[in-house]
Subunit: 416 residues, 4 copies
């Protein structure tokens, strides 16, 4: 069974994650890459009617003028994550994918990101409405060029600075008014992309902590356009482990006194996060898990430092100080050494398949069953990884049975 | 509401775990110790009708002639786990508890443990039937002396060597015949205790990897005597974390290549485990979790070394080598630094309360809902900690509602 | 042989380090504490003519109104570092020592420290000259009361904020002029103490990163008053290990790419270091070692976070990323878990004995042979711990031989 | 200045270390590899008259029939340690080097190693004298073919089992007699190689813990043939760090209570070490450093486990439990993650250059100044890395000055 070809549109296309998605999809389609790391390759998802991996076509927006071949070569050289054989076999596919990459939005992504933009043809000054129209035209061109039944838009760009709250984000009407007035409306780039995608009926998934579609206004738009959305901030490493370990302390009634986490990272993401404005957005997202799981607030702290020599290899150390019976203090520490792009890319492919499925099933608004993929899951308070994952499995099992109404129920249950 | 006083009979009464149970129960009864570390103190268990902590009375069997006061002073000096104030307040209770400790079984616990036995009055040569009668008399005396409504027997003694398989363990009839013939029947001390307890209708819980009640013959006896049993090998530290982390690798479809664990421990348990025969029993119990969760067998290895300077402070290092998308190898490592007695003691109290409850509810045979407490849960294949814990919560929720039949269902569900 | 009794005057007397010094000296004098951790107890120092430990008498300045008994009880309760028996045996000595503690200088130690001051009798407004006279009177009273042949003043108070450079610190004449004018002269508390001590001919040792005697003006005063000085910032844990490991990377020609260190600490020192002004002084001191040893500047970063649950137990994680043959990147990480007061106290005693010896030997100015004790050794560029230690051993061997001139040579050699 | 071309003959030529030496020398000669990791590239060795790196020619003995190109490709694929560009540039050199590899000695290396031997033409049965003659002919052929002024023989083969003591190893006369009688003389392969090399006047360096030249008989032969020798067991990772950290504990008078080390390794060396006989030789070598430095014996334990997924990436965890002032127990732990071949290869090149230099300088017998390179330095009791390194620097400084007699003195001083 096939659902036709579908477009996977990446915002931040040539970043480490985007490049690994492109290499990975090519490798999978050619049968030289395995499905390890893909959640949707687990047996539980076999009968859900997910898009075939070979039917996904890459497109994207980007600020830097390069190509997938070049980006993959650099990633291979610096992080050592692609074998020479794999890169050789994927070269043509990567060249083709590069042809579908378009200049994106530098403005509204924060000064630090704007300074990376080097694509000369990129229009830098235009009204929001004009931007939205431009983005939507990119997508309709893409759709036509590749005969795509669906498109899903996934934001894998660098973290933007935290947005100051703006009244026009609180309701769709206010936002539309602001846009009509030619107002910038305080919209960061990620939210402009989100508006454009949702408005055109394309599912939007935010793999970063940037604002994206996480406002009442855009959630309302998603309902109105019958468009599924999800986010935010992919849970790939240290925070994933937090959401796995914290429930154990709760279940054993061990009191966490303090939980200190330190992340070292050397890729472009880390470079952007050197900027205090961008960093604060990230840290806020990373730091809510523990109290969210435990139900009380121990001392928590999480740091991110840019260590260029590590490149894409995130090295995180967490120290957990806890108290057991009779007040005795004990500790656990862990070091996580993972390659960020390699951890994130399969989840991006998973989210694409699941968002495309949701759209075909007629679901709209926040996909709460995807909480296990995110550090700050939209619309879900639950931070216990296994409870989040149970909700996904339940969704998969219902979808696999072809049921409809129960899905809604799952979504509602996931709300609590 | 009260269920009357109940006896908590500890095999290996003066060990670190037993001593911490005695100090802890005294501290709890006197309101100077908190309930951190007690699973049954979680809100989920509030309405289950568990025994009041103040109603538990300590008794036990032991091989070494000492006292709770002395054992607690030494533990305090070496491991620093009791405050001077706590010890002072509990001194009288500990002296009283010591009065209820009786000489146990040195024979059949392995050479290493036998050599520790120094209680002169301990009868060393008697038939199995005579031993069983002696143990049962200890319990009925204890019951009468303290006016106890129930007794639960929990084995917290050092690990025995692995038992060679013996045909008479496979059916109760064969075992009874062997005992009638005056045959030793290949019964290790732990199984003799178990037989005696179950035969007299006292729930038996095995907190060690020793054989205890884990044979078809004794499971059958438990059914016949309407007696609940549980085991084995309390899951307090490194293995607990394994059963928490391994499911994450499965859920993310990350392939574990190798999982190496090293435990350093300096208490009497560690001393006994220096003996290769005793150690192999422990390692077999610790090493089954990962393949049990993952459904495939990566390279796993687990070591235990005796490091006297650490005393009761278990220090464990685990190194997990795993493969993600596109074959990239990554790693995670953790160090666990916990005090074994302090981690185990509240779980022993939990198990006592839950076993007493099960008996009052008329349950018999293996308590499968207690799997989350054990490294090698009897009758349960599931090693995912959170699934095990869900089964316990479901049991608690049903018990809390006063339901009956559903309990059986939970037990059956937990079987798979 | 005896050199008479000598006073060990502690600035910050009731802090964790000061309290451990007091408990330790009492325990040593009474024969119930061993000499582990005391560098001067090594055989190499046997024949140097160091002061007997039993001849050291404690006095000190402090801002908080408490006592050694109280401070030791709290340290014991929170960090668990003194046995009940030790505390009991030392109780009288501690009470006596408390009698010699005088109100110190709150002003000029930074806002954060000033706010801790709660000693009502403490004169808060006085000219610098008046302060100096007051301090010197405290010392002469102390000397008279205990019939002391010598006094050494050691600063173990919390870290002050970094001082802005002031011209009057550059020459003694300028400083004297400023003081004569009634000018505050930009002198932090630590430097006022230093001036007062040196001016009166008492050796001054700065165990903190505060400015103390580390200015040309005060070094000149030390020469003029024939007074030995040393500092600064005791090297007790993470930085010690850095100064041990970095030379190995140099000797093996392995290129350090980045060295990231994170310190977690929960005592009063950590509390003060939460203040960015105080923290920057500490970090500057900690961060110079690696480049100092290697001769080139890799990326280095060092953090300190206040984690109250840890109390006096410093937990530090260092991650070292390095490159070997053929450009291959490798890593080493370590976790240090040490009790700060327990590590620092014996070094303070060592420094007292060595400073007293130097004074008796007629040495003046910076004691360069003490570099191995400090993170930022005054007058010494060498950060390789073992080379620093060699210089100390050479000094000890010369002192042990009763030689004189060679000492000067050692000092000069240590300069490079 | 040049000393002519010199042969670097590797026993175990195609192993990870040998292959990395071959790739590295080619890369260095072609100017595409840097000298990081080479101790002899430090400024201190500039004026010693060491052989030019480009003048070293590779030859070797081996048991497995393969080639440098194949071995390097596999190492690249599995451990990711050579860049594609480097391998491409070195391809011709590797092919040439392979032409100089000859079948070695399978017999006498232990069963485990013998089973790896697959070179069909390899003579498996011959008398010791015949073997010695065969090896010496290989070397004279090599010398003639490449016009070599000198040859140095370095053993980088897998660890042999421990040799039982044999009387004929105690004196050269006894050994010669045994060989004349056609006796096997209990000589392991490594010692036969050593005999043959030394007898022919070629310096012999043992980079493994195998017996090699470490017997009185062969030391005597080295003196008689005026041949320098060195060994044994290259100090590349965990043991290196031990020899760096242990002196710090001594210098600070901190008492090490226990030091536990665990090594995980997945290369052929690890595979051989799975064999208990081979492993015991290695562990004996690794476990002597700590007591050797400290002067007392804390509890020490060191383990090696074969973890194939790690391949050449040694991962070691060490836990150090120590006691400070007032008996307080503290701990330090480190994890070392290094690539064994990459760490060892430059040291092998260093040793070759230093042995060739020694021979040109007319030195004979054990080169004690090379102790810093070895876990079990022949003829040297000193295990403190920095003292060992000082001895090497002193040798280099004397050699650099063209002095002669002082060298002997250095050697003698290094004896203590």
């Amino acid at each position: 069974m096939t659902n036709g070809r579908a477009g996977l549109w990446l915002i931040g296309a040539y970043g480490g994650v985007g490049t690994t998605v492109a290499v990975g999809l090519s490798g999978l389609a050619r049968g030289i890459a395995g499905s390890t790391g893909l959640v949707t390759a687990l047996p539980a998802f076999e009968r859900c009617g997910l898009a075939n991996l070979a039917d996904l076509v890459i497109g994207g927006h980007e600020l830097r003028q390069t190509s997938y071949v070049e980006a993959a070569d650099i990633l291979c050289l610096k992080a050592g994550i692609f074998s020479a054989d794999l890169l050789k076999a994927c070269r043509d596919d990567l060249a083709n994918a590069s042809a579908a990459i378009r200049p994106g939005l530098a403005i509204g992504a924060g000064k630090c990101i704007e300074e990376m933009a080097d694509w000369p043809g990129m229009t830098r000054r235009e009204s929001c409405r004009a931007t939205i129209a431009r983005l939507q035209k990119d997508w309709s061109d893409f759709r036509a060029a590749h005969d795509l039944a669906q498109i899903v838009v996934i934001n894998v760009a660098s973290t933007e600075p935290l947005c100051p709250p703006a009244p026009c984000h609180d309701s769709l009407a206010a936002l539309e008014n602001a846009l009509d007035r030619g107002d910038r409306a305080g919209l960061p780039a990620s939210s402009l992309y989100a508006y454009a995608a949702i408005d055109a009926g394309y599912p939007y998934v935010n793999f970063t902590p940037s604002q994206g579609a996480s406002t009442p206004a855009l959630e309302q738009l998603a309902i109105e356009r019958s468009c599924p959305i999800a986010g935010q901030d992919g849970k790939t490493g240290e925070t994933l482990i937090k959401s796995v370990l914290a429930p154990m302390f709760l279940a054993r009634n061990l009191q966490v006194l303090s939980w200190f986490g330190q992340n070292l990272i050397g890729n472009r993401d880390g470079l952007v996060l050197r900027n205090p404005a961008n960093k604060s957005a990230k840290l806020a997202s990373k730091d809510q898990v523990i109290a969210g799981v435990l139900g009380y607030q121990p001392q928590t702290q999480v740091g991110i430092e840019y260590v260029p020599s590590l490149d894409d290899w995130k090295t995180a150390w967490d120290f957990i100080h806890f108290q057991g019976f009779l007040g005795v203090k004990m500790s656990m520490q862990f070091t996580w050494q993972g390659c960020d792009s390699v951890l994130a890319a399969p989840l991006v492919i998973d989210l694409a398949r699941l968002a495309l499925l949701a759209q075909r099933r007629g679901e709209r608004g926040v996909m709460r069953h995807l909480a296990c993929f995110f550090k700050s899951p939209l619309g879900v308070e639950e931070h216990d990884f296994f409870k989040q994952f149970e909700a996904l499995l339940e969704y998969a099992s219902i979808s696999g049975n072809g049921a409809g109404d129960e899905v809604t129920e799952v979504l509602n249950n996931a709300r609590a």
